[in-house]
């Protein structure tokens, strides 16, 4: 009923970002879970090897258990700090430096938000911050919009991965613009990870079928009625979309073609 690890490994090459390789093409966020246990179970079920975390003030009046590190086994999952909530290059750089100072990684998921209602990126601030952080030696994974030109500039800036959105963060609207995503993938050499907007398994599957290198998601799993089961679904869907892309789909035809022989019929 299920697929052996070796079978799958033989069916795809590993994902490589900034010199590290991963067998899973999923990156998961750790926000919005109803409790930490569900989060850990969902992350485990997803098969991901990288999880994002946010940098926030310690709450001096609450239990120290709130820190997510208490729940994440760093043998199992690499941390990817983000700059979520930053509305300027300056803020994003500050949060990135704090994230690195924690001593776990020099990777950063760079977000420079341009608008509170949509959480769409400010590409001008994004490019500034990306250039600065690359100079400072960060491995930058840049959350961006569907614009090819910005994606090309991010690649020129030396980012480790370009992460265009499928649709707005937390919207669950799925892949609104497959054409633009396919276009970006076709023109870039660095990995393209679709970040944000996936709502259900088929969104992940069709996204991978565009040929992108991976998907980053959070709400689609955390806000599902059953996050652990959805995490499993996302894992399968991401593999399925990747394999289908590699396998090369049949041509579409506007007419029918029999799957059984038309000869050898009886009198």
């Amino acid at each position: 009923m299920t697929v052996g690890a070796d079978t799958l490994a033989a069916s795809d090459t590993p994902l490589e970002i900034a010199g590290r390789t991963f067998r899973s093409r999923l990156i998961l966020g750790t926000g919005k879970y109803k409790d930490n246990q569900t989060m850990v179970e969902a992350i485990t079920a997803s098969g991901t090897e990288v999880v994002t975390v946010a940098v926030r003030r310690v709450d001096l009046d609450r239990t120290k258990e709130e820190g997510v590190l208490y729940h994440l086994d760093q043998e199992k999952w690499s941390l990817l700090p983000n700059t979520a909530g930053c509305y300027s290059a300056e803020d994003a750089i500050r949060y990135a430096q704090l994230g690195r100072a924690a001593g776990f990684t020099d990777w950063i998921k760079l977000e420079v938000i341009g608008d509170e209602a949509t959480l769409l990126p400010d590409v001008d601030g994004l490019l500034q911050a990306a250039r600065e952080l690359v100079d400072e030696g960060f491995k930058v994974l840049a959350y961006t919009n569907e614009d090819l030109i910005t994606a090309l500039k991010l690649e020129d800036a030396g980012v480790a991965a370009v992460m265009p959105l499928a649709s707005p963060i937390g919207s669950g609207l799925g892949l609104l613009n497959p054409f633009s995503i396919r276009l970006i993938k076709s023109r870039l050499s660095v990995p393209v990870i679709v970040d944000a907007g996936v709502g259900t398994a088929s969104d992940a599957c069709v996204t991978m079928e565009q040929g992108v290198d991976g998907i980053l998601m959070n709400t689609a799993i955390a806000a599902a009625d059953d996050p652990v089961r959805m995490a499993l679904a996302m894992r399968q869907a991401t593999q399925a979309g990747r394999l289908a892309y590699l396998a090369g789909r049949m041509p579409r035809r506007e007419q029918a073609v029999p799957s059984s022989p038309t000869s050898g019929m009886l009198d």
Partner: protein, 74 residues
């Protein structure tokens, strides 16, 4: 925390003014606040304090500290 101590100083921590004992290092401050060093990153007056310097950097009247850590996020 104990505010009866006459020799305290006022510092800003995560946006709030707090009285803390005089003469603390950052290391002492974290202990005072019952925070694990490994889990927290410290910014003093907008400068990040490297973990190895916690013992050497002092806490003075009017200093502004940001004590941050990782939380769940996407």
């Amino acid at each position: 925390m104990d505010n009866s101590n006459p020799s305290t100083i006022a510092v800003t921590i995560n946006g709030e003014t707090r009285e803390v004992p005089e003469g603390l290092t950052v290391k002492d401050l974290l202990a005072h606040l019952d925070l694990h060093e490994r889990m927290v990153v410290v910014e003093k007056n907008r400068e990040i304090v490297r973990r190895e310097d916690y013992g050497g950097v002092g806490v003075d009247e009017g200093d502004a500290f940001e004590l941050v850590h990782f939380v769940g996020g996407g």
